[in-house]
């Protein structure tokens, strides 16, 4: 499995937020969703902190 892209992580985070907001989860599910959401927040934040623009150049002219 390839590493998820930042966008995938963000989309997943937002779906956790939506699930928790909808409020039909059991307490155990809600807590698990919360933990997963917080993990995604950490992941997104870490990626933003570490981000550095990478520039590659194609040759072949």
């Amino acid at each position: 499995m390839t590493e998820k892209t930042f966008e995938e992580a963000l989309v997943e985070l937002e779906s956790k937020v939506a699930a928790l907001t909808a409020g039909h989860l059991s307490l155990a599910e809600a807590l698990r969703t919360y933990e997963e959401g917080v993990a995604l927040v950490r992941e997104c934040s870490a990626r933003l902190d570490e981000a550095e623009l990478k520039v590659t150049r194609l040759s072949g002219e």
Binding site: E7, L10, E14, K16, A30, L48, L53, K54, T56, E61
Partner: protein, 409 residues
């Protein structure tokens, strides 16, 4: 001196309108002045809100006013600007309100740039007919591109501008630079090849070139470039020249950006806003889970209240009380039933006593039987001299029958 007014022909003088009408009758429709082709430089241009356009057409020695009607203006395929050289086809007429001859332009096309513009129009019309500019072909840009293709000259300011904006706004991505010539001989092929090289390597592509003259930007009007943009499987943002420059690349691209810097801003979300979204997500998660925990906490507290020692004691006390009440009832009832039974027993015994022959005997009656024990109920049962037994309450009297006396009936 004879004045003009006193001349005998004063009454025959023409009105201005009559003169202009006469002029118009000579000029309008004159074969040498109809459907003429004139070349010249555009002088001042005026475009009032009426939709008509007025300009002067001039050369070094002369000038003539020109007017274009709305339909002609609408059909123009270039911007009519002062200083450009044009070819005008039209008819000379007189504008009565000013008594002025003017050229009614039916067609205006640029010369000099004309060859370029002709090619531009031809390519544009052909590609438009093929549907390459159609709105439904336009693809949406990815929200968070992982790889951004940048097709431009490594020597140009455009590359620097794009990279600077991406560095500041969106360091999450990777930029794949595909260098190419952006002007001069061979530029169209070079741009098309550079576009083809980034296929399948990026999520979105920026085609950029800084400002320049119409000739400098010309490669971006080339059909080969247009087709390379169209066949790229990812969305393309075209940023060629400055705001007012429009090229065919702009028409084919999915998005047109006014400048290369603007293209970078369009392609990449601002990381500050992204951080904001992540933080907002965190805040909502916290708030929702706290709500849930509060709800469950209330339930738990309620249940815990029921389970606490005091609670049990109360339950037990209640139960014991009920048992006491029940047993008391049972005892009371039991005693009542017992008394009742005793009463009923006594009455039954009493009734039994009443019917027993012994009780009768006790009152002084006796039972008489023969020697063999048969009850003597009648005088006919015995004869004088028979031995009989007389049973009383506490014993038996042995007796002999002395005499029989029958009761008279």
């Amino acid at each position: 001196m004879q004045t003009l007014v006193s001349a005998p022909g004063v009454r025959d003088a023409l009105s201005v309108t009559e003169l202009v009408r006469a002029l118009r009758s000579v000029v309008g429709g004159h074969p040498a002045l109809t459907d003429v082709l004139v070349r010249g430089e555009v002088g001042s241009v005026s475009r009032p809100p009426s939709g008509l356009a007025y300009f002067t057409l001039k050369d070094s020695a002369s000038q003539v006013p020109c007017v274009m009607f709305r339909t002609v203006v609408a059909a123009l395929r270039f911007e009519l600007r002062e200083g450009i050289e044009v070819l005008v086809r039209g008819d000379v007429d007189v504008f009565p309100a000013k008594g002025q001859t003017q050229l009614l332009a039916r067609e205006v096309s640029p010369i000099g740039h004309g060859a370029f513009w002709l090619a531009f129009e031809q390519v544009r019309d052909r590609l438009a007919a093929e549907g390459l500019f159609a709105t439904e072909r336009k693809r949406a840009l990815p929200r968070f591109p992982a790889r951004i293709g940048l097709v431009t000259s490594e020597a140009g300011a455009a590359m620097h501008d794009v990279l600077a904006v991406l560095e500041r706004r969106y360091p999450l991505g990777e930029v794949v630079v595909s260098p190419c010539l952006v002007q001069g001989e061979g530029a169209p092929q070079s741009i098309a090849a550079a576009l083809d090289r980034i296929v399948s390597r990026v999520d979105v592509a920026i085609l950029a070139r800084g400002g320049g003259s119409t000739e400098d930007l010309w490669a971006f009007n080339d059909e080969r470039v247009a087709r390379a943009i169209a066949r790229l499987p990812v969305p393309v943002v075209s940023a060629v020249g400055h705001e007012l420059d429009i090229t065919i690349s702009d028409f084919v691209a999915d998005v047109r950006a006014p400048t290369p810097s603007a293209a970078a801003e369009i392609v990449a979300p601002d990381v500050v806003q992204v951080r904001g979204r992540v933080a907002a997500a965190r805040a909502i998660l916290d708030a929702r889970v706290r709500e849930r925990i509060d709800v469950w906490g209330d339930r738990l507290r309620f249940l815990a209240g029921r389970l606490q020692p005091g609670g049990v004691a109360r339950l037990a006390r209640d139960a014991r009380q009920r048992v006491d009440t029940l047993s008391e009832t049972l005892h009371r009832e039991g005693r009542r039933i017992l008394a009742d039974l005793r009463g009923r027993l006594a009455s039954v015994i009493g009734r039994l006593d009443a019917v027993s022959p012994m009780a009768t005997i006790a009152r002084g009656f006796a039972v008489v039987t023969t020697e063999d024990g048969a009850l003597v109920g009648s005088v006919a049962t015995v004869s004088p001299g028979d031995e009989i037994a007389v049973h009383v309450s506490d014993g038996t009297l042995d007796a002999i029958v002395a005499e029989l006396r029958r009761k008279e009936t």
